[in-house]
């Protein structure tokens, strides 16, 4: 079993109102020193019966095709075995 941890974030330059709102809310709650907050997605994809290389290839494909939208998002992933 392989677990792929996929991180999808908004591209730099794309406005992230959610991050901005969270930042404001943290400030209101009295947390000083928060310079910036960005909100993205964190997905865990569990794969069965594939090798590590194969998994890496497939997850790359999944990100390209579905999990991220290249117009607005970047992605990154890590694999974890066991």
């Amino acid at each position: 079993m392989i677990r792929a941890k996929v991180y999808v974030t908004l591209k730099k330059g794309v406005l992230d109102p959610q991050g901005e709102t969270v930042r404001g809310a943290l400030e209101t709650l009295g947390f000083a020193g928060v310079k910036d907050v960005r909100v993205g997605k964190f997905m865990v994809v569990t794969l069965n019966g594939v090798s590590r290389e194969e998994a890496s290839k497939r997850v790359e494909q999944m990100c390209k095709k579905l999990l991220a939208n290249p117009v607005i998002e970047d992605y990154r992933f890590e694999l974890e075995e066991g």
């Binding site: 109102p17 709102t21 579905l66 939208n69 117009v71 607005i72």
Partner: protein, 236 residues
């Protein structure tokens, strides 16, 4: 004229579009389940509003892989008309049939209300019944309507007259205050280069009967019917 309305699992405006096309315009409109693969019989396809696949992951992201989308692409390539409303617009962007993407409203809130949009280009099959600069009163109904493209594409869109609708004041001014969702340049609707594919966030089908408060959305449908009448059947 024959309309085909594509129904994805989670779409919900298909019956409304059908109502307007059939009852108000007197044209034919069939509902097409997303697993169909043949769309040859249709002059104009409508991708209606709703929450295809629950809008999970990203709006329109999963719907673009529905079996029917291959035929939708072919229809576009062949010059057939395609109207993507709200969720339909989002699907068309994800599918690459229209440039850009639709992001979460800057208010982070779902918005359902009437807005005003200005018609920026009347030389498309979707807008011939409008006057240049005409202001339409139509409802929006979305959580992800903030239009975004990279600056270079934006420049091209403007240059080629692909921006069809912009959020405006009642008087037709393009202001920040008139922009309900933070869309780049107040963009509410864009078409492809071939001008046969239009995507827009407002719901023209909700502004097609006086009883419901506005009829200005009807102009888009009437334009389509009119272009269907003038286009020779061979042009496709």
């Amino acid at each position: 004229m024959r309309f085909g309305i594509i129904v994805f699992p989670g779409s919900n405006c298909e019956l409304d579009c059908q109502w307007v096309v059939e009852r108000v315009l007197g044209q034919q409109a069939d509902l097409i389940w997303h697993k169909e693969k043949d769309l040859k019989d249709y002059d104009c396809l409508i991708l209606p509003g709703g929450f295809a696949h629950g809008d999970y992951l990203r709006t329109g992201a999963i719907a673009r892989f529905s079996p029917v989308m291959k035929a939708v692409e072919r229809h576009a390539e062949d010059g057939g008309l395609i109207l993507g409303i709200c969720n339909g617009f989002q699907v068309l962007c994800e599918a690459g049939l229209l440039p850009g993407a639709l992001l979460r409203n800057t208010s982070l809130a779902f918005i359902c209300r009437h807005v005003h949009v200005r018609v920026e280009n009347t030389a498309t099959p979707f807008t011939t019944a409008c006057r240049p600069g005409q202001v339409l009163r139509v409802p929006i109904n979305h959580n992800e309507g903030r239009y975004y493209v990279d600056p270079e594409t934006l420049r091209q869109l403007n240059e080629k007259g692909q921006v069809i609708l912009r959020y405006a004041t009642t008087g037709g001014e393009i202001t920040d205050g008139a922009n309900p969702n933070g869309s780049l340049d107040n963009i509410a609707g864009v078409c492809n280069e071939g001008r046969n594919v239009l995507g827009l966030m407002p719901h023209p089908e909700r502004a097609a009967e006086a009883l419901l408060g506005s009829t200005s959305g009807l102009l888009l449908f009437e334009s389509i019917v009119r272009s269907g009448r003038t286009a020779s059947p061979m042009s496709r």
